[in-house]
């Protein structure tokens, strides 16, 4: 899966939690989940679980803590896929 495809998958994962539709339309690597997309912080754990399922990976607690924006999410997904 290339980066563009990963972003598309990530986009479909975060969509149900997003409160700012405009920021979602313009989602890029610099997009922050809380500040830009206005996802409820309690839902970040659900995003992480959905990512685990979609990519068949396990995200440890330390990584989950860092997964606050698209860039970090992409890095974590890439790292976990590489470990497989």
């Amino acid at each position: 899966m290339n980066k563009a495809e990963t972003i598309e998958t990530l986009k479909s994962i975060v969509k149900p939690y997003v409160k700012n539709a405009e920021a979602f339309e313009n989602l890029s690597e610099d997009t922050d989940f809380l500040r830009d997309l206005q996802i409820n912080s309690a839902n970040l754990v659900d995003v992480a679980l959905d990512v685990e399922e979609a990519f068949d990976i396990t995200i440890d607690n330390a990584s989950m803590e860092k997964m606050l924006n698209v860039k970090a999410a992409l890095e974590i997904i890439a790292a976990k896929l590489a470990e497989k």
């Binding site: 149900p16 839902n43 659900d46 679980l49």
Partner: protein, 424 residues
């Protein structure tokens, strides 16, 4: 002068109807919400019939967002939110305010919460997978889940809490809400209660053999309060909600008034005398009724109708005896009496509120709904109360004062008095 409390909105999510229009038609016609339950049959329950609200996916989406419905498995919250939001809307109160409404709160009871979600969580935890519970396992399974959801959806800023007292829960919620308005601490209280549904709620009752096992082939005949052939209750679930409001506030808003809550009483038999964990102490039951009348400022002779607890067990005769003694009325002098459980089963923690909605509809529209499955009145009851006071057909008649009582495990009692609202 004591504050007066009126009901300005109602909502209901019952086995025989969702929303006031459907429910009113159902109770007037004696429509049953009891059906064969494949899930109970597959699990080899003795009682394989039940009464559950039929909530379509479309209806769910009227009350919950897509996000809220993700991994959602909490029937009690579902029913409670539907009934509660209906009552709020029916009362003409606003949604989407910017600020919390500090004058309005809720006391919305439950027995358990999110039993389905709880079960799923337990399996995950035992499978060493606690990390995958998701973010809503807590709010769906905490006892106050229903008020947590309602509080946010309605922007309530006053007391937001959940009460729990077994089958008395709904009636208790109304009286606790009434007290909060009378004491001037709130202008409006959404009073209600709800119950989860399904085998994990009903199993314990099935194990006690208190549910009927004789009507798996004819579900609609299964719930037989006051009947000679009553053989146990039919497990049910659902929610009712009543928007209680300070009369001054209701008049100032020009709100529709369904009825007045005159007062009532809550007590316990202390599991003394004939009382126990599962049986009511008759002394306390009679006192609860007498004190409810006194608190409401009416006399026993004024009462026009009773909406009983009457679950369709061997305790029905005892309940009737308690009413005759508490009121000092019997035979043809006894008020009309009916039990909604004949058509919706026993909605457990939801029962008191669902049945109160029915009682208030009777006051508002002037009728006594028919008792289903009671053509063969129990001889012990027939000896105490005239047949025509336990109608099996709809009776159209104006009712000034109606009593609703609920009795629950733990030997707890509640009795509330509703009055037709008359403008002075």
């Amino acid at each position: 002068m004591k504050k007066r409390v009126v009901i300005t909105g109602m909502g209901v999510c019952a086995p025989n109807g969702i929303g006031l229009t459907e429910f009113l038609e159902a109770i007037r016609s004696g429509k049953s919400g009891i059906a064969f339950d494949t899930e109970l049959a597959d699990l080899v329950f003795s009682c394989q019939i039940s009464a559950k609200p039929q909530v379509s996916d479309e209806t769910k989406r009227e009350y919950f967002t897509e996000l809220e419905l993700r991994n959602f498995d909490a029937d009690g919250i579902l029913y409670g939110v539907i009934a509660g939001m209906q009552a709020w809307k029916d009362a003409g109160l606003p949604f989407n305010s910017e600020q919390a409404d500090f004058g309005s709160g809720t006391i919305f009871g439950s027995g358990t919460s999110g039993i389905g979600k709880f079960r799923e969580s337990i399996y995950k935890i035992d499978d060493k997978n606690v990390r995958r519970l998701g973010s809503t396992a807590v709010v769906q399974t905490m006892a106050s889940g229903v008020t947590a959801y309602l509080g946010g959806k309605l922007g309530l800023g006053n007391l937001v809490t959940t009460n729990s007292s077994a089958c008395t829960t709904g009636t208790e919620a109304i009286l606790l809400s009434y007290d909060r308005i009378v004491s001037g601490q709130a202008k409006r209280m959404l009073a209600g209660s709800t119950s989860d549904s399904g085998p994990y709620i009903w199993g314990g009752f099935d194990a006690m053999r208190v549910c009927t096992f004789k009507h798996n082939g004819d579900p609609e005949q299964g719930s037989r309060p006051m009947s000679q052939t009553a053989s146990g209750f039919v497990p049910g679930a659902g929610a009712g909600a009543l928007l209680l409001e300070d009369l001054e506030s209701a008049l100032a808003r020009g709100a529709t008034i369904y009825a007045e809550v005159l007062g009532g009483n809550l007590n316990s038999g202390g599991q003394k005398g004939e009382g126990s964990m599962t049986a009511p102490n008759p002394v306390a039951v009679q006192r609860c009724i007498s004190d409810a009348l006194a608190n409401s400022g009416i006399e026993a002779k004024d009462l026009d109708a009773i909406n009983g607890h009457l679950t369709a067990t061997s305790k029905d005769s005892l309940e009737i005896e308690n009413w005759t003694k508490a009121l000092g009325r019997s035979g043809a002098d006894f008020p009309y009496i009916n039990s909604l459980k004949s058509t919706v089963g026993h909605c457990l923690s939801g029962a008191g509120s669902v049945e109160s909605v029915a009682a208030v509809l009777q006051v508002k529209y002037g009728f006594v709904f028919p008792n289903a499955n009671c053509d063969d009145l129990h001889p012990e009851i027939a000896a105490m109360v005239a047949r025509e006071k336990i109608p099996t057909q709809l009776v159209e008649t104006q009712l000034q004062y109606v009593a609703k009582a609920s009795f629950g495990f733990g030997d707890v009692n509640g009795c509330v008095i509703f009055s037709r609202y008359l403008t002075e």
